[in-house]
């Protein structure tokens, strides 16, 4: 299935190797946080008190009964929390956004599930029992959960003192006046209202942590299921008023992240506060109902979008007015996903003029944050629905219209109007390949079943990012990564970097890079991740398709330096010159001229001894490299789908799916393929974390209400990888953690439109549920 493995030499780089830690996970020896905390004696357990209403003022928090006769060790309410904490910092804001922090102590609740207090007892069950005895009174306030309703006159205000639910606004790309000018004389203009639903990020392992306060040393040690140990440390230090080095965050096995574990949450902060106040260990793992309500949701945006074309079907201008649903408050990353929608609006196409206006909107719903491929997936939806609709209105083949406007190889590197620069890639060839997969597919119509196909290209910004770029867009985080490699005195190799392992196989891929550069077998390499005491600093760790590109490049460089040092040490021992030294497959250095040999282990041991060392040579067999990328690397892809639409039920069945993906040089094609076949069909067809508009109550409270794609929902996906190396790093790497989700909704909608053109104009929001499709069919007189 996969072609062009990318293997470039005899080493493990580019080989489809099984992952090094799989046997442990398969035996049931995973170490997820509740596996560590659950069976331990002496660990107390927390339950979080949450708001049952979407908007209201907490007027009473009476824990008398809970404290007196339920065995609770600690009950914290808004006043107690306020006494001991400060707010959490944010790092990405909109111009005009007054809210710079997240309150930890809550007296006004603004979404169902918002933490109000915490109860700690001997077991989770006892803590839940005690929590039921806390008496909380809330004066309800009017609530609003829809972004457009929130912006309407006389809408209930979440922060009445500001006079609006708009948090702030930014224009990205070309100014509005330029776009209007470009559109004024266009031969064709397509305008649509395009929405992407809120989704629950829903990793199979919910969030959880084990916090321990050691009174003697005044240290907080936190084992947390997180993607970002350093930001968690930073947030905890700020909220609990500690020095950064009083807090250590470690990351055990993580049962999936998908963006949902990329920040420190208020409830997690409360658990750490409880550990500090009690002077011991407190554990908490949320249940699925809490995860649905309280984990920051992904997506949630509306856009008024316009595409202008000339008489020949060439794109003239693209514009989107995006209303992003921030939820109850702006999270640490806040409007970031919506801003990325604006910055990646143009995708793989040539636009003489393009821009987006992004408004962040407060609503009485769960705050929103990162979810796999954020911003880029929404942008792809907007762009590709407009293009497909333009083709339909003009009577053109949508594939032909796309090919006419795709950026070609000869135009690379190409700077889009939003000022990012694509490095490499043959976008038309990739799309043509995906189109070919479905071109010959018979679109058989049997009775009330209609069939259609579509192919859609996408481009994925990966390896975020150059720190100077983050500074330029006002994102208060660094983009660099470090890699540190130590050759131990016994010749084994330990690798430290800022990435975190959450199922993406990063430890294996990084080990392959190091093994390749050192010339050792994979089993010599141990990769240690996720510990703020030992891992290099990282503001982003593992998210945004960046670990392989950034940590990988840092380690590649560190590996080359260390190998050169080992060659020099070996040469001294073998009484020859480094150029004469060869490392054999049996881990033995051989001096060609002197015919003497020394094992890798002997050379390492001698290195640490320092015997015979020239005065200015480094001693420690350790190299550390900081890598701040010169630019973003852009992966690209094209997906194709064949669907059947049942005119009686509105059910869309995906009968075939193809992905052509280019992420530059692949370190491990087996892992790469797994990353490419993601969960995108859930967003396209099934998942929506919606609220009842009348009561503002969330409608999805567990996996019985929230349909994650089941095996029958996901057809076999045929994946092909092409390889266009990135020029920005010597490995030629591009990221691929999110590409698999970007075009999925757009390609499924395109295929539905192909099957039933009568409803194409109404395919404006996801998920394309049977009810939504059936409603459109009925309106079209087909159902």
């Amino acid at each position: 299935m996969t072609e062009d493995t990318g293997a470039t030499g005899p080493g493990p780089l580019g080989r489809a190797l099984p992952r090094t830690h799989d046997p442990r996970l398969l035996r049931g020896d995973g170490r997820y946080v509740d596996d560590i905390a659950g069976p331990q004696r002496g660990v107390l357990h927390a339950a979080v008190l949450r708001s049952p209403v979407a908007h209201g003022r907490v007027t009473r928090f009476d824990a008398t009964a809970a404290r007196e006769d339920s065995g609770a060790h600690l009950v914290l309410g808004p006043d107690g929390i306020a006494r001991h904490t400060g707010p959490l910092p944010t790092f990405w804001r909109l111009p005009g956004q007054w809210q710079h922090t997240i309150e930890v102590a809550t007296r006004t609740v603004r979404y169902v599930g918002q933490p109000i207090g915490l109860v700690v007892a001997d077991s989770r069950a006892a803590a839940e029992d005690a929590a039921e005895r806390v008496e909380v009174s809330i004066d309800p306030l009017p609530a609003v959960t829809d972004v457009d309703a929130a912006l309407a006159p006389r809408a209930p205000l979440l922060y009445p003192e500001t006079g609006t639910n708009a948090a702030g606004r930014i224009r990205l790309g070309d100014p509005e006046a330029d776009v209007e000018r470009a559109m004024a004389d266009a031969a064709h203009l397509v305008t649509r209202e395009l929405a992407v639903q809120r989704v629950s990020v829903a990793p199979m392992e919910p969030r959880g942590l084990l916090a321990e306060w050691t009174p003697a040393t005044q240290q907080l040690t936190v084992c947390s299921s997180t993607q970002v140990p350093h930001p968690v440390r930073c947030g905890l230090a700020a909220a609990l008023r500690l020095r950064a080095d009083q807090v250590r965050v470690t990351v055990p096995d993580v049962g999936g992240g998908f963006g949902g574990k990329t920040t420190l949450y208020v409830d997690e902060t409360l658990v750490c506060l409880a550990a500090k106040l009690l002077g011991g260990r407190v554990a908490w793992t949320e249940d699925r109902a809490e995860a649905m309500a309280a984990d920051y949701h992904g997506r949630g945006q509306r856009a008024t979008a316009r595409l202008a074309l000339d008489a020949d079907g060439r794109f003239l201008a693209l514009d989107a007015r995006v209303r992003g649903d921030l939820g109850a408050f702006a999270t640490q990353g806040g409007s970031g996903p919506f801003q990325i929608t604006g910055l990646s609006l143009e995708g793989p196409y040539r636009f003489p003029c393009a821009g987006a206006t992004v408004t962040g909107v407060y609503t009485n719903a769960t705050p929103t944050g990162a979810y796999r491929g954020y911003g880029m997936q929404e942008a792809c939806w907007i762009r590709e629905r407009l293009i497909a609709e333009a083709a339909r209105e003009l009577g053109l083949d949508p594939g032909e219209l796309r090919l006419r406007n795709l950026i070609t190889v000869g135009e690379m590197p190409y700077t889009v109007r939003a000022q990012t620069t694509y490095d490499t890639g043959d976008y038309p060839a990739t799309l043509q390949r995906a189109m070919a997969a479905v071109a010959e597919r018979p679109r058989v119509r049997t009775g009330r079943l209609r069939r259609g196909v579509a192919a859609v290209p996408s481009v994925e910004g990966t390896g975020y990012g150059p720190t100077a770029l983050l500074e330029q867009i006002g994102l208060e985080a660094s983009g660099w990564e470090s890699g540190r490699i130590r050759i131990n005195e016994d010749g084994t190799v330990t690798v430290f970097t800022g990435a975190v392992s959450l199922g993406q196989g990063i430890e294996t891929a990084l080990a392959q890079i190091v093994a390749d550069r050192l010339g050792l077998p994979l089993e010599r390499i141990a990769v240690r991740l996720g510990d703020t005491d030992t891992s290099p600093h990282s503001d982003y760790s593992s998210q945004a398709s960046r670990s392989l590109v950034l940590c990988g490049t840092a380690l590649l460089r560190a590996g080359e330096r260390l190998r050169a040092r080992m060659d020099a040490l070996a040469a001294a021992l073998l009484e020859t010159v480094p150029e004469d030294v060869r490392l054999e497959a049996d881990e033995t250095f051989r001096g060609e001229k002197t015919s003497r040999t020394a094992t890798w282990r002997e050379v390492a041991a001698r290195g640490w001894l320092g015997w015979g060392r020239p005065e200015h040579d480094r001693i420690r067999l350790e190299e550390s490299v900081d890598y701040d990328p010169p630019d973003i690397t852009f992966a690209h892809a094209a997906h194709a789908a064949a669907v059947a639409v049942d005119l009686d039920t509105g059910v869309v069945t995906v009968e075939g799916y193809w992905a052509v993906h280019d992420s530059g040089v692949l370190v491990n094609p087996l892992i790469a393929e797994g990353q490419t076949v993601g969960e995108g069909l859930g967003m396209a067809l099934l998942e929506e974390a919606d609220c009842d508009p009348a009561t503002a109550q969330p409608l999805r409270r567990g996996l019985a209400d929230y349909p994650l794609p089941a095996p029958a929902d996901v057809p076999p996906v045929e994946v092909a990888h092409t390889r266009t190396p990135s020029p920005h790093n010597e490995g030629g790497f591009k990221g691929l953690g999110e590409g698999g989700i970007l075009p999925v909704a757009a390609v499924v909608a395109g295929a539905v439109a192909d099957a039933v053109p009568e409803i194409a104009a109404g395919l404006n929001r996801t998920p394309l549920t049977p009810y939504r499709i059936w409603t459109l069919l009925r309106e079209a007189g087909l159902a």
């Binding site: 046997p23 020896d29 509740d34 199979m204 959450l502 199922g503 797994g674 993601g678 069909l681």
Partner: protein, 174 residues
């Protein structure tokens, strides 16, 4: 959660059962789920809890050879039973052919849902269900957010090819 005013002793029972061939006996509250009993009382944390409502299948164990959701059973219901969990599959650390196939085909990513899937597929193989039946019906009882099920299906195919139990076998099972 119930709010029982009775003394804890009347709310507790001693549960004796065998897990992976070893007999265990422990006091537990009658309301304790089998999943929590296995994980927290016996320390067998390979069985994972993903939803606590019987949807995701992560907590699947075998109870007298039958796959069950351990989050939907009380520990007291398993008294006297023979329970098998993921920890019992590999013998002396040697992975079963199914586990090896999961590794070879990248049938797991974060690994959280994997133990439950392994137990269901192991039971299906013992029952003689064919590979297509297993892929269509047994796997349907599991949710995986990472893999898109591709690697899992491939692992199932590989393990059956290795044991000669490919398509067509097992008519009349169940």
């Amino acid at each position: 959660m119930t709010r029982d005013a009775a003394a804890p002793s009347t709310r507790e029972r001693t549960v004796t059962l065998t897990v992976n061939g070893a007999t265990h006996s422990a006091r537990t509250e009658v309301r304790t789920l089998l999943s929590d009993f296995l994980r927290h009382t016996l320390g067998l944390t390979g069985t994972h809890v993903g939803c606590e409502e019987g949807v995701c299948g992560s907590c699947t164990v075998l109870l007298d050879d039958v796959p069950v959701r351990s989050c939907l059973l009380l520990a007291v219901q398993a008294a006297g039973a023979r329970v098998e969990t993921v920890e019992g599959l590999a013998v002396d650390g040697e992975l079963t052919p199914l586990q090896q196939a999961f590794m070879a085909e990248h049938g797991l990513q974060c690994g959280f849902c994997t133990p439950g899937i392994l137990m269901s597929l192991t039971a299906a193989e013992r029952e003689g269900l064919s590979e297509p039946e297993t892929a269509d019906e047994v796997l349907a009882g599991h949710r995986c957010r990472c893999t898109g099920y591709a690697g899992i299906r491939a692992a199932l195919r590989r393990s059956r090819a290795g044991t000669g139990q490919g398509g067509g076998a097992g008519e009349g099972a169940r």
